[in-house]
């Protein structure tokens, strides 16, 4: 990540309170293009987290932050419900609309009936996951 505070020709900060990209050479008009960052600030003013992406053309959506931080999904966003036997999953995106270059959230909520389980990471080192084949049963 190349970031800095851009300065004008007289050396004074051009964008003193912003993070800017200095990947582009000094002297180019686009040197110091503002670099987008989302800050999550608590009610007491403390900075909780920052969402920073390396490419200035990309943006983290508010819906993505709300999903990751609070489990919230934008109203009107459709979620799929998948079910098989004792296993059910609700899968969806954090928003129904977005612009090119935006980062949106993805969620998958799983539920199993009592007495059932699925294996998951971390598996013991002696275990490996492989596709199963049971030709006799057409599987």
């Amino acid at each position: 990540m190349n970031s800095c505070v851009a300065t004008g020709t007289d050396g004074t900060p051009k964008l003193s309170n912003r993070i800017v990209s200095c990947k582009l050479a000094p002297g180019l008009q686009t040197h110091g293009v503002p670099h987008p960052v989302n800050y999550l600030v608590a009610a007491d003013g403390m900075l909780v987290r920052k969402y920073f992406v390396p490419n200035y053309q990309h943006r983290v959506t508010a819906s993505s932050v709300a999903l990751r931080e609070f489990g919230a999904i934008v109203e009107g966003t459709a979620a799929l419900t998948l079910r098989s036997g004792a296993f059910a999953a609700e899968i969806g995106l954090s928003a129904a609309k977005a612009f090119a270059g935006q980062q949106i959230g993805f969620f998958a909520k799983f539920r199993l009936d009592r007495g059932w389980h699925v294996c998951g990471a971390p598996l013991p080192t002696a275990y490996t996951t492989r596709p199963s084949r049971c030709p006799r049963y057409g599987l």
């Binding site: 992406v53 490419n55 053309q57 990309h58 993505s64 999903l67 990751r68 459709a78 799929l80 998948l82 098989s84 036997g85 004792a86 296993f87 999953a89 899968i91 969806g92 995106l93 928003a95 129904a96 609309k97 977005a98 612009f99 090119a100 270059g101 935006q102 980062q103 949106i104 959230g105 993805f106 969620f107 998958a108 909520k109 799983f110 539920r111 199993l112 009592r114 007495g115 059932w116 389980h117 699925v118 294996c119 998951g120 990471a121 971390p122 598996l123 013991p124 275990y127 596709p131 199963s132 049971c134 049963y137 599987l139």
Partner: protein, 69 residues
Amino acid sequence: MKIEALDESLPVHCDSFQGLGSLLLGYPFPAGRTVFPGKLRFQQCSDAVCEAPETISFELPLTIEPFRA
């Protein structure tokens, strides 16, 4: 989960759990309605039986908004 016959413990997911991730849309990206295809692979087991592994395909719809000058 304790497997008594093998005297081993295996970490498993049960009851409710969730996963979160993110999708970064390319730039540029054509405006309009698009779908993201996905596959969910899993194998559900109880203490007595493991069902055959399953794969469920799904599609997540998303509308890409056009930029306005």
